[in-house]
């Protein structure tokens, strides 16, 4: 299957078609696959939610494709796991599991908890000063 040029609707965003491919610095075969721990955790969340049957893998690939095709996507792929995370949130919302308001609220609680936790100690949600 030698694929013809992707159509504008199906392919990566139009801008990418003009951007020559450049191998990023430090991208040798031994480069770490996750730049930060949250990326690995986000990766695992999608795998676990699929295993749990929350969504099918086709639904996942379709949603991730929508996210990475956004016109403001970074050309170096550095925001890939941000799109990955957005795809999880979108599917959870579509499936009625949880919505962005809830995720915003809990994520702010985590940030307050982190701020209230002295350096070197584990961050626990219980440390959120606004926790009821």
């Amino acid at each position: 299957m030698s694929r013809p040029e992707p159509s504008a609707a199906a392919g990566p965003d139009a801008g990418a078609a003009d951007t020559p491919f450049r191998l990023p610095v430090g991208s040798g075969p031994d480069a770490p696959v996750f730049a930060e721990p949250w990326q690995a955790q986000a990766f695992a969340l999608a795998v676990a939610l699929h295993q749990r049957g929350v969504f099918t893998w086709s639904e996942w690939a379709a949603e991730l494709s929508r996210q990475v095709a956004r016109p403001n996507a970074a050309q170096d792929g550095s925001d890939y796991y941000q799109h990955w995370l957005a795809a999880i949130e979108a599917l959870l919302s579509q499936k009625g599991v949880t919505g962005s308001e809830m995720i915003d609220a809990v994520s702010h609680a985590w940030q307050r908890a982190a701020h209230a936790t002295p350096h070197g100690q584990p961050i626990l949600l219980e440390n959120d000063p606004e926790r009821a």
């Binding site: 949250w38 295993q51 690939a61 701020h115 936790t117």
Partner: protein, 224 residues
Amino acid sequence: MTHDHPDHDHHHDNELDPFAARVKALETILVEKGLIDPAAIDAIVDTYEHKVGPRNGARVVAKAWSDPEFAEWLKRDATAAIASLGYMGRQGEHMQAVFNTEDTHNLVVCTLCSCYPWTVLGVPPVWYKAPPYRSQAVINPRGVLAEFGLILPEDTRIRVWDSTAELRYMVVPTRPVETEGLGEDELARLVTRDAMIGTGLPLMPGSREPGAVWPPEAGNGAAS
């Protein structure tokens, strides 16, 4: 940046990056709903960071080079042949192995997102997921290969395979010359991740230098 600040005793709070906080929030919500188990998340991370990777695919290729019956099976039904070595897809995807020949070179891409044969290659490298690779691999495959230092003869045909959620490809490169006496373990060491994506060639025996120059500025490539 250092964490030692001997000159002042400024109190450092922990800061959570907004994305890290969102992932933690999702975990909290999903654990409360009973949809995920934190230990399972840790196990998945461990698997994909440490256990699943291109070494799996290298074993598949080395076996195909050494065992013609396995190579035939891999050509006919890659999903089953690969599963026979213990590597199973978790997303129910099918695998297809595309074999390089003297006149055809294969290159794998996912134009839509980042579908990739995780069970044999691990998690894809950053460039595989970046928009320029996803578009240029189709439009200008020779230009992309040149960026990897891989210059193919003009008359070599390049076939580009576009992965999907249901069907993922791996390239089986041609066996390097002068490897007749090598066993499967030694052969597997010659098979790089990029050789199985199609952006590289296998290493030559006795060297960590690939047939095509990779990495371009290889410094400490001690022979193994």
